[in-house]
């Protein structure tokens, strides 16, 4: 029990610094919900139903800007497709876990949890599970709180501050921070240009077309890089 407790405490301690950058993100999501005109409770429920900042922000912003439901849902799902990679990377480790945890664990498998777990695949199964749950539940609790705070203070903030512009700023931060090789620059530039060219397509489906072209361009560039 005492080992469990110290492992759990370590998980909480490790999660806290990783949560700091997520605070403005969570607040902006809350503000975006308040700004989008959607039902605040439905918007906030994305925090525990979806539990993934970038996908939530995508869904809420697109729904608020009048995009068709299918385009908003489709784009948000594409944003979260990267979680397939996390699932693949941790699948062998999860084979040593009980069935209940194999079902519950993936729900908490967000970027930060993966970052902390990917470096300890050979951890003893009980310790792995305790640490994973401590990290995941810490993020989950703080995330629900911060996004709720954003929804609550959203309507109080003066319209002239134009805080909705924080959304593209956050996206550009995510874009730049994620770039660690030039094929990703190719994916971003080609994706942006293709989206612009396809912007006239109905219901903002041009976004999906542009993103798909960008992913393809990055994959091709990576192949050239490897040769």
């Amino acid at each position: 029990m005492s080992v469990d407790r110290s492992v759990a405490r370590q998980g909480v301690i490790d999660a806290l610094p990783l949560f700091v950058p997520a605070v403005p993100f969570g607040l902006v999501i809350g503000l975006a919900i308040a700004d989008s005109g959607m039902n605040p409770l439905a918007g906030w429920s994305s925090s525990w139903v979806v539990f993934a900042g970038a996908a939530q922000l995508t869904l809420i912003t697109l729904l608020g800007s009048g995009a068709a439901l299918v385009a908003a849902v489709g784009t948000a799902l594409v944003v979260n497709a990267r979680h397939l990679m996390y699932s693949a990377a941790l699948a062998p480790t999860f084979q040593r876990q009980p069935p209940w945890f194999r079902r519950l664990g993936p729900y908490l498998l967000i970027d930060q949890v993966f970052a902390l777990m990917a470096v300890r695949p050979d951890e003893e199964p009980d310790r792995f599970r305790t640490y994973y749950l401590a990290v995941g539940i810490t993020f989950w609790t703080l995330w629900l709180g911060v996004t709720a705070l954003g929804v609550l203070i959203g309507p109080v903030i003066p319209q002239e501050w134009n805080l909705e512009f924080a959304v593209p700023i956050l996206f550009i931060g995510l874009l730049v921070l994620g770039i660690d090789r030039w094929p990703k620059v190719v994916a971003a530039v080609v994706g942006a240009v293709a989206t612009y060219l396809a912007a006239g397509l109905p219901n903002r489906t041009g976004l999906l077309v542009g993103a798909a072209v960008g992913i393809l361009a990055g994959t091709v560039a990576e192949r050239y890089r490897g040769e």
Binding site: V20, P21, P24, V28, G43, S46, V49, F51, A52, T58, L59, T61, L62, L63, A72, V73, A76, L77, V79, R82, H83, L84, M85, A88, L90, P92, F94, R103, P106, W161, N162, L163, F165, V167, P168, I169, I172, G173, L174, V176, L177, G178, K184, A188, V189, V190, A192, T195, Y196, A198, A199, G200, G206, L207, G210, A211, V213, G214, I215, T219
Partner: protein, 102 residues
């Protein structure tokens, strides 16, 4: 109601992505080609989203000098500091200053 359905569908899809290999295909390998392509999802989608937010539904550019400057500065600050909080503060500060000036 449709908003709630959208949230539920994205939530279900996200869970399926996260659990796919853990629950269903633990002993199989993902084709390398798929893994390579998944790396480019984030940059392509983020860049596309920024463009989509900056154009109107007919495909015309819908931003002015303040927005464009703020995005450039935000991108530069992200590159330099590798930090979301600085990026957000710098981008919004430039946006507000430029709005007041232009």
């Amino acid at each position: 109601m449709s908003e709630l359905i959208a949230v539920l569908v994205v939530g279900l899809g996200s869970y399926l992505f996260r659990s796919f290999f853990i629950l269903a295909l633990a002993h199989r390998r993902i084709p390398d080609q798929v893994l390579v392509s998944l790396r480019f999802v984030a940059p392509a989608v983020m860049a596309s989203l920024i463009v989509a937010l900056m154009t109107d539904s007919e495909g015309n550019v819908a931003i002015g000098v303040p927005e464009a400057t703020a995005l450039l500065v935000g991108g530069a600050v992200a590159q330099r500091t590798r930090n979301h909080i600085w990026t957000l503060f710098a981008g919004m500060a430039v946006y507000w200053v430029m709005q007041a000036l232009v």
